[in-house]
């Protein structure tokens, strides 16, 4: 793999950039792999990379039905943070954040991880109680998360309106300074390039249509639109399509696939220095390096694989944004889009073995998948290589829906009395 650097770019600049090769190879699939990962998003590509890098398993294929990074990896609002409440969540998101901090160097690909701070606005006493609970738990766990007064919040993010007369006045904020954003496409491409360099096959336009098992029930490979491909182990990392793939192995999973929408504004000169989220008014916003406001909306209320949703969801989100930032009413929406998020009832992910030997599942990341990318990929690789979960992901198994040991981040932010 040719090393990327400022010198390489300068050298190429002098000769019309004729010397660059492909980011990743596009080989024909082999008849058999040690591991097949279904889903060429950040999680799947990353898992392949870590299988090769940390577990020495390089006879790996990533099968992607469309183009890599084209699912939720390329559709999200790129927020990164780790200030979750429960140990299981903190474990995995903090593991991920630590990987984010070195990811560009590790991959020799600039993923533009930008720790510009993620600020969550508190609007009432209940928010405050909930945020303090997070902050205290995070501090004792070694994760940064600070309580800010409204004035401190405004100093950190000048466009904030902290007037007490607002419909939802701000009574404080929780700030994770190490939180921030990264460039979503770069994550997929960086992992793909680094994995490909280590021998992983990245096979695009390859849709899995069946999961084959032998008479003992063990996975033997997958049927695809490009024929059967054998494998000793198969990992599913297909976000919204997890249920569809698991059904191919006759396993029902506790997942629902729903549209999640987002939008960007026209590009404007930088005015917004960090990420701001508000659970009470349901909105989050940051400004990209190109100057667009990147704004996340909520999920539509029904299951859908359409990657579209209703205007009312966008409206609801912009209501909130304009209420928090009244000067943004003249800003224009340039593009809206949707992805398919797979959500569990406890809003926490599933990573673990399945009832089918040799079949592993990484799913249910809901709206939190992008921030988890390196951590999830790293631990999923461990799971596939070792056949059992890493300590940091041990609580994320499917089993919890039978035992009741849920990791209910949503419930922890329960509605006020």
């Amino acid at each position: 793999m040719r090393k990327y650097s400022v010198f390489a770019v300068a050298r190429e600049a002098l000769r019309g950039h004729k010397g660059w090769g492909p980011h990743w190879a596009s080989p024909e699939p082999r008849p058999h792999y040690d591991v097949i990962i279904i889903g060429g998003g950040g999680h799947g590509l990353g898992a392949a990379y870590y299988l090769a890098k940390e577990h020495g398993i390089t006879n790996v294929a990533v099968l992607e039905k469309g183009w890599i990074g084209g699912g939720n990896t390329g559709r999200n609002t790129t927020i990164i943070r780790s200030n979750y409440l429960y140990e299981e969540s903190m474990d995995i998101y903090e593991h991920s954040l630590k990987l984010w901090e070195n990811l560009s160097q590790d991959l020799n690909y600039n993923v533009m991880y930008s720790p510009r701070g993620v600020m969550m606005l508190s609007h009432n006493i209940h928010d405050q109680q909930s945020f303090k609970r997070h902050i205290n738990a995070n501090r004792l766990y070694g994760i940064d998360n600070d309580w800010l007064t409204p004035e401190q919040a405004k100093a950190y993010c000048p466009p904030l309106d902290i007037a007490k007369t607002a419909r939802y006045p701000i009574n404080g904020a929780a700030l994770q300074r190490r939180g921030g954003t990264a460039r979503h496409d770069a994550v997929a491409w960086g992992y793909a390039r680094a994995a490909s360099d280590r021998g992983v096959h990245i096979i695009q336009n390859c849709e899995v249509t069946g999961i084959r098992r032998d008479e003992t029930g063990r996975v033997t490979g997958v049927d695809t639109n490009r024929g059967f491909i054998g494998a000793k182990k198969v990992g599913i990392s297909a976000a919204g399509h997890s249920s569809v793939l698991m059904q191919m192995a006759d396993v029902r999973v506790p997942l629902q696939s729903q549209p999640l929408q987002a939008l960007v504004s026209e590009p404007l000169k930088p005015i917004f220095p960090c990420v701001v989220m508000s659970n009470s008014v349901h909105a989050y916003i940051s400004q990209s390096d190109k100057g667009e406001f990147v704004i996340g909306a909520g999920t539509d209320q029904y299951n859908s694989y359409s990657q579209t949703g209703g205007l009312q969801i966008i409206t609801h989100t912009l209501d909130a944004i304009c209420e928090l930032f009244p000067m943004f009413r003249r800003v224009k929406m340039m593009r809206q889009w949707g992805g398919i998020v797979d959500v569990t009832q406890d809003r926490s992910p599933i990573q673990g073995v399945t009832p089918v030997p040799g079949l592993y599942l990484n799913a249910g990341w809901g709206t939190g998948g992008f921030k988890a990318t390196p951590g999830s990929a790293n631990l999923f690789a461990h799971l596939i290589a070792r056949g059992e979960p890493h300590r940091l992901a041990a609580g994320l198994t499917l089993e919890r829906f039978r035992t009741g040991r849920l990791i209910d981040e949503a419930a922890a932010a329960a509605v006020a009395h």
Binding site: G66, W67, G70, H241, S243, V244, Q247, R252, V253, P254, L255, Q256, S257, Q301, Y302, N303, S304, Y305, S306, Q307, T308, G310, L311, Q312, D342, Q345, F401, R402, T403
Partner: protein, 113 residues
């Protein structure tokens, strides 16, 4: 914003008047206290989450207040039919098959023929 035919109001109304109620035809076991952990998991958590026709519940919460059922294609978001709560799952063979003919938005991405 979907347009949903309420079988009680006998009229199509905006999605704004409705609330989705998840999968239809999942009856709460009458002997629920006795069922196994696995059965409880299946009842409460496990879902088909189909890519294609889903049978789902809606409540006309800001209308007649009634829960009813719908068959909808989760790829096109088109409703095949809606019917009153308590009525059996309709036989959709009679209804036009839409999932095969409606082109998906997703399929559009990066590919047109």
């Amino acid at each position: 914003m979907l347009l949903i035919y309420c079988p009680y109001c006998e009229e199509e109304r905006s999605e704004l008047e409705f609330r989705n109620g998840g999968d239809a035809h999942i009856a709460r076991p009458t002997n629920i206290a006795e069922i196994s952990d696995e059965e409880f998991e299946a009842y409460f958590f496990l879902r088909d989450n189909p890519k294609g026709v889903i049978f789902e519940r809606w409540r006309h919460i800001h209308g007649c207040g009634r829960f009813f059922n719908a068959a909808r294609d989760t790829v096109s978001d088109r409703f095949l039919t809606t019917y009153k709560a308590g009525e059996p799952k309709p036989n959709l063979d009679a209804a036009p098959e839409t999932s095969a003919t409606v082109e998906t938005y997703e399929a559009l991405e990066g590919a047109a023929q």
